[in-house]
């Protein structure tokens, strides 16, 4: 039978076994340690995640001068803030932030792979790595945004940023109406990874707020 797409019926079990076997062998051979996998994952679960970017966004919403500096030189501006000292760490060495306004909406994509600013946004969600998203967002960003629930007025310019060189882009979303009284912490809790990639807007009263590692698959 000619069927190159058939899968092993034990696909996931075998994937898991293979990943664990590889880990065990690499520990035996002295490449990594028994703690490496946990160390890395804890770091991304607790330290290097979208909660960092959300704080930067909240700060930019409440401090126009900081915002100006953030848009001019994201790494330098973020280093002013009270963050652990890795905001220009792996995959965030050279970041650039694009601001959504009443007249411009930004969308970041990576048609070749999955370039993503780890220190501020953490790890990319599956949809961002989906070849269908990568292919479609390049040519029909408005249609894709509509599928994500972002229905833009025709007058709004859409800017698509494809990261194929060394810069990691992300989006400063618009501050929603009805958040005038909120403090930075409260504001940060409204900001989703999707909003910082440009496929969502920030809502004043979202169904859920804050960071939930389980929702990311941790």
């Amino acid at each position: 039978m000619s069927d190159r797409f058939a899968y092993d019926p034990d696909r996931e079990a075998k994937n898991e076994a293979r990943a664990k076997a590889l880990e065990a062998l690499l520990i035996e051979k002295g490449v990594i340690t028994a703690k490496t996998v946990d160390t890395v994952n804890s770091f991304f679960q607790n330290e290097m995640g979208p909660f960092n970017g959300a704080k930067v966004v909240a700060k930019a919403w409440t401090d126009p001068q900081f915002k100006a500096r953030l848009l001019a030189d994201a790494n330098a501006a973020i280093e002013e803030l009270d963050f652990p000292p890795f905001m220009s760490g792996a995959e965030g060495e050279h970041m650039k932030v694009a601001e959504n306004t009443d007249t411009v909406h930004n969308l970041i994509i990576c048609t070749l792979c999955s370039c993503y600013p780890w220190p501020t946004l953490g790890l990319p969600p599956y949809w961002y790595k989906d070849p269908t998203f990568r292919a479609r967002a390049a040519r029909e960003p408005r249609a894709v945004l509509k599928e994500f629930g972002v229905d833009l007025d025709d007058s709004v310019e859409v800017k698509v940023w494809d990261s194929s060189a060394q810069i990691r882009w992300w989006v400063l979303p618009k501050r929603p109406d009805g958040t005038e009284g909120m403090g930075e912490e409260e504001l940060a809790a409204l900001v989703t990874p999707e909003a910082m990639m440009g496929v969502a807007v920030v809502e004043a009263n979202p169904p859920r707020t804050g960071y939930d590692p389980a929702a990311q698959g941790f």
């Binding site: 996931e12 075998k14 994937n15 898991e16 076994a17 293979r18 990943a19 664990k20 076997a21 590889l22 880990e23 065990a24 062998l25 520990i27 051979k29 002295g30 490449v31 990594i32 340690t33 028994a34 703690k35 490496t36 996998v37 160390t39 890395v40 994952n41 890795f86 760490g89 792996a90 965030g92 060495e93 050279h94 048609t111 070749l112 780890w118 969600p125 599956y126 949809w127 989906d130 070849p131 269908t132 998203f133 390049a138 040519r139 408005r142 994500f148 007058s155 709004v156 859409v158 800017k159 698509v160 940023w161 494809d162 194929s164 060394q166 810069i167 999707e194 496929v199 698959g217 941790f218």
Partner: protein, 240 residues
């Protein structure tokens, strides 16, 4: 044409699945992700001082990407993101002789039969310190070299159509297209490795180039006020 390079604008695709907002959809994906991060943090090209790891190779995104670009395109689309990583990374360790294919098969069988039989113990904490150090400090490609950018903001440029090699950072949908320099990034940037005749390797300026959708997609461009910006290495550009 290598399909992995030519995804941008591909026709006939349906809705985006889900969209699935998880980072990991299976617990084992966290394992292979962490192994990749560790390899990047233990890559020979970094300053490893006296980190007591047995890892003795370079490993960067370029290596992972080369593997993905070398895949059968039908397999590339058939497997999930981290399934491709699992295949590429375990293949690398076998090819470089760290482990044998038989060892890996045997250990996999053992895990399938009884997960508890696999003990993962030991290792020098300095290894994990270095991995964290890498995550915290990164691996900046910015280089200190006195190279004057060939193009200035507003210049019209044509994207070269360089013959395909085993690795490129030039998306297929830009080849032969004309755009305008929108940003000249400060400094010069090096890619992880040489891409041979494709042209990367030495430090060079990078740009954000603005393209009109009608230039990129011709009759298929979406109506509306839209601009497409691509970050590109200088070697991929020519004066228009």
């Amino acid at each position: 044409m290598k399909l992995q390079h030519a995804l941008g604008g591909l026709e006939g695709l349906g809705p985006i699945q889900g969209p699935e907002t998880k980072v990991f959809v299976q617990p084992w994906e966290k394992t292979i992700f962490a192994i990749h991060v560790a390899m990047m943090g233990l890559s020979k090209h970094l300053d490893l001082k006296d980190v007591p790891t047995a890892f003795d190779d370079e490993w960067t995104w370029a290596d992972l990407r080369k593997g993905a670009e070398a895949m059968n395109p039908f397999d590339y689309f058939r497997y999930r993101y981290y399934e491709k990583w699992l295949g590429g990374i375990s293949g690398f360790f076998v090819q470089q002789g760290y482990i044998t294919a038989e060892e890996l098969e045997e250990k996999t069988r053992q895990y399938l039969a009884d997960p508890a039989s696999i003990k993962t113990e030991g290792g020098d904490p300095k290894i994990d310190e270095q991995v964290l150090h890498y995550l915290e400090t990164g691996d900046s490609p910015l280089r200190d070299a006195a190279i004057t950018p060939a193009f200035a903001v507003g210049d019209k440029v044509v994207v070269r159509d360089i013959p395909p090699t085993d690795h490129t950072r030039l998306p297929g949908h830009l080849r032969g297209k004309t755009g305008v320099i929108d940003v000249v990034y400060d400094g010069v940037y090096q890619y992880f490795c040489s891409t041979g005749p494709d042209g990367l390797g030495e430090p060079m300026p990078i740009y954000s180039v603005k393209f009109e959708p009608s230039e990129l997609w011709e009759e298929l461009h979406e109506d509306g006020n839209t601009a497409f910006f691509a970050d590109l290495f200088e070697v991929y550009l020519e004066a228009a």
